[in-house]
Each structure stands twice: as structure tokens, then as C-alpha cells.
Symmetry: C2
Subunit: 144 residues, 2 copies
DNA sequence: TCTAATTCGGATAAAACTATCCTAAATTTG
DNA sequence: CAAATTTAGGATAGTTTTATCCGAATTAGA
């Protein structure tokens, strides 16, 4: 469904949002540690998110990545997915035709569109702040 | 969502199912032509499907790939997807944790599970015969 | 039986994705 | 100002996916 890069991006952003609720910033190594993702590769992913304006980064001692609760409420899952994988997964044709087009639909169109639009609504309606709530409550986990 | 190989597989299988309704077989080059997919690569994909028992192949003159209407009704989309991409897309964790596990869920679990299960139900409930019906009716298309 | 058509399988190559490493730049702290 | 910390960015590898090519095997038909 999502690429590894995108899954790392989601895990990291949710974690940073949780830490942001305590007014803290997180360093790359802590993020990689807590999400069980490869540090160097995760660095690239976080840089993409920072460039996309999805999270803020600070260099130097006590630097790292952060996301204020106010901003975390505005950052939807769809924005993270789009920044890393593009929006094809929740907007494209399921059978790979150049564009989904109801006027000239693929055989799967009617069946697929429903599921895909549910996915799109879910991604566009879910924000990072919400996803981060279960983490320190101990009801959800970022790695196993 | 699905890999290119899997999209080619779906397009090809639907087409073969349509031709099967007329009791005909289709050759690789005709399939590649009608679905707009690269012939050599499509060959590999079709071989996988044949090995998986999803469609039948015949060598020699007038050979090709075929799928009887009776069998096309039994071949679900999920079988094609699983044969090419595996079942992770409709069974795995959205954030990439090793397994989706409701006892130790990722932050996305509740949101994602619904969409993913809708996808699974759609894939498991849609058969190739049904998908092929619109093709010769001219209401659906395999390429643009 | 010979030939042509066609899939099968292996080898190979190109592109994309995943991953690592190293140096530069920025920032805090002493 | 110097040193330490931390992200940024470029270079480079390894792996997987996508794609092509070619010869072998099989089969229909002349
Ligand atoms: S045309 Fe294929 S999903 Fe709409
Ligand atoms: S644990 Fe992640 S989707 Fe179920």
C-alpha cells in the first residue's frame, strides 16, 4: 500500500507529534530508535518532510525535528503520504490506466473507486495530533 | 496500491476472461497489444499466473492463454493480487509493523483496518467473469 | 516429417527503491 | 572563540522491480 519510506515517515511524524505535545523536540537517532527504522534512511525521509513544510527542523545541540500540537492538528495523513509517495495511491486508477476517468472507466472502476475514496477520506480526515494521542496513553505502539 | 506487474496481471486476466466467453484463447502479443503493457514483461507475469493455476496456457500454433467462463467466475481479484504482490496490501499493517495486531495496534490501526478490510472484501468478492462483462459491451476500457 | 507458431525459462540490463557513509553547515554551550 | 552536537546534502552501494532478449520445448498443420 505505502512504500517503506512512507511508513517510516508516518511513524516518525506521529512520534514527533507526541513529543511536541510535551513541548519537546526529537533527534534523528531517538526517532529511528523509537520507530525501529534505519537512521540514515530515515534522515532522508525527515528531510523531505521538513522541505515540504510538514515538520520543522533545528540544527545544533538540542536540535532535532518538531511539530507543535497546533500544527499537528493541521497535518493530515494525506499530506505525509503525498509528500513521500505522491497521491496516486488514493487518487489513481487501480488497474494503472494513466488517470482514473469515469467517462472511460476501467473494468474495476466502480468497485475500486469506493474503496479508494474511503481511503482518501480517511487520509484527508486523520491528523497527526489525533494519531499521537494513544502513544503515551500506552494503547498504541510504533514498533514491535 | 498495486505493483505494475499486478496491474498488468489484472488487465490481462480480465481480457482473457472476456475472450474466454467466446471460447477463444489469446496470444501474448494480442494481450500486450490490447492492454497496453510491455510484451516481454507481461509474459513473465502471465507465466506466474499460469503456474499459480489462475489461467491455462497452451503452446504451439493457436496457443495462448485462456480462462473458461466457469473458471473466471471462481477466480477472484484477490487471487490475482496475491499471486503477484502477495496479500500484504489487503492484510498487512498500514504503518509497516511486522503484522497487524489488534492486541498491540499501531496508531493507525482503527482507521486503517476499516479501509483495508473494505479493500479485502472487494478483492475477495469480485471475480474475473464479472469484470469482463463491460468490455465487449463497450462500457469499460483496458487502455487509453 | 518439416515448419511455423507459441509459451517457458534463463540470462541480462535498466530503473527505482532502500540504505549507508562522509563532509559541510548551523547552532548551542563553555 | 572553540568545541561539541545535530541536521543538510552529496556520493555511493545493495536490493528489488521493471523490462528485454534469446534459445529450448511444445504443438498444430502442411
Ligand atoms: S478508471 Fe480505473 S479506477 Fe477509475
Ligand atoms: S497494527 Fe497497524 S494496521 Fe493493524
Amino acid at each position: 500500500m505505502f512504500s517503506k519510506a512512507c511508513q517510516y515517515a508516518i511513524r516518525a511524524t506521529v512520534l514527533i507529534a507526541m513529543e511536541g505535545r510535551n513541548g519537546r523536540r526529537m533527534s534523528l537517532v531517538d526517532i529511528a530508535q523509537s520507530t525501529g527504522s534505519p537512521p540514515a534512511f530515515t534522515a532522508k525521509v525527515l528531510q523531505q518532510l521538513a522541505r515540504a513544510g510538514i515538520l520543522d527542523s533545528t540544527k545544533g545541540p538540542n536540535g532535532g525535528f518538531d511539530l507543535t500540537p497546533a500544527k499537528a492538528r493541521k497535518v493530515k495523513l494525506s499530506m505525509v503520504v503525498k509528500a513521500i509517495d505522491g497521491d496516486d495511491v488514493y487518487k489513481g486508477c487501480g488497474m494503472g490506466l494513466p488517470q482514473c476517468n469515469a467517462k472511460k472507466p476501467c473494468p474495476l472502476h466502480d468497485h475500486f473507486q469506493q474503496v479508494r475514496d474511503d481511503l482518501r477520506r480517511m487520509l484527508e480526515g486523520t491528523d497527526m495530533h489525533t494519531l499521537s494521542l494513544g502513544l503515551d496513553a500506552g494503547t498504541t505502539y510504533l514498533k514491535r
